[in-house]
Assembly symmetry: C2
Homo-oligomer: 196 residues x 2
């Protein structure tokens, strides 16, 4: 999940952790975003696997404002030392590698176990071929239809035994899924009409 998110965003542009999280929040919504507790370990994992690498920060702020004091000078020096692979203010900027790009294509074509994974596949599907794009959408439709079928089954079995609140919850959920299916169906049609 996070793997796909990070690789997709880094394919767009080089970023550091904090920015990565912000972009992800915009796409996925404030909920269902990722936490730092997952993001930084994930970045470390990906770096160890050679799919991302820390890049020279294109350091757009070359002017170190001199403080005039010894302490200031010393601090500036210390800061400068730490910047071999870091941008200003200790930022660590990551970029995607060729291995990472291959992995991204793999993840885009792979199964979408949960809603968030599908959302990410859709957001980054422009990095894959048209036939893969269609596959993603069709797989999603199948998954949604299966979900709907199970819900109807549940209602059919013990719909009358359920209390008022539970019943309205399940009914609302069912309607939401129906709308999702209509939406994805329209997406598929649009995609099919699009010239190759």
């Amino acid at each position: 999940m996070i793997e796909l998110a990070v690789l997709g965003l880094l394919k767009e542009s080089e970023l550091h952790g904090y920015e990565l999280k912000k972009r992800l929040r915009d796409v996925l919504g404030p909920l269902s975003s990722v936490s730092f507790g997952s993001l930084y370990p994930a970045l470390a994992r990906l770096e160890a696997a050679g799919m991302v690498k820390a890049v020279e920060a294109a350091d757009t702020a070359p002017a170190f404002p001199m403080t005039g004091s010894f302490a200031g000078e010393a601090a500036a020096f210390r800061t400068a030392r730490r910047l071999s692979r870091r941008g200003p203010r200790g930022k660590k900027v990551y970029g995607i590698t060729e291995d990472g790009e291959r992995r991204l294509v793999e993840l885009l074509a792979g199964p979408a176990d949960d809603d968030r994974t599908f959302a990410l596949q859709l957001v980054f599907c422009r990095f894959s071929e048209p036939d893969i794009r269609l596959r993603i959408l069709r797989q999603r439709k199948v998954a949604l239809e299966a979900r709907l079928h199970e819900r109807r089954h549940t209602i059919g079995n013990h719909g009358d035994r359920l209390d008022r609140y539970t019943r309205t919850l399940i009914e609302h959920d069912t309607e939401s899924t129906e709308r999702d299916i209509e939406w994805i169906t329209r997406l598929i049609e649009t995609e099919e009409e699009t010239p190759a």
Copy 2:
């Protein structure tokens, strides 16, 4: 999350783990259900905390359908032997304690961080007072409106910079949230009309 689910279900009736999971799946849907890897540790935690306890399986199936065969009789006998704190077939049946009931009321009134927690609060809200029920619904509405506001904000900021797929995703998500708000609004109205 799981804590609320287990306590709520056990307040309804005494159950064993496997059955607990099945009921949960019916309510929450096949996705967003809980796995055994969370359920059994959670049951152990709750038992250690004295909120649930293993009960004498009240063996509600007094009528062992006689098989007519000797093998059937023998199997039934063997089964009957093994039942100290377990129901038929090694099932471990749990019940809720008084501490557990207090905790349940607490969790019902508490904040619903994610969608699943809200779903559970709604399903079990019949175990709480009418004013708490209303509070749950209103809190949910506030949360949904905040979500909607953030989404609109995102679109307003960089809606034009987003690619086709991302934009349709966010738009669909926004519409879903709007429908959720309409639904919860209707629920609140119904609840307010209900005589105390």
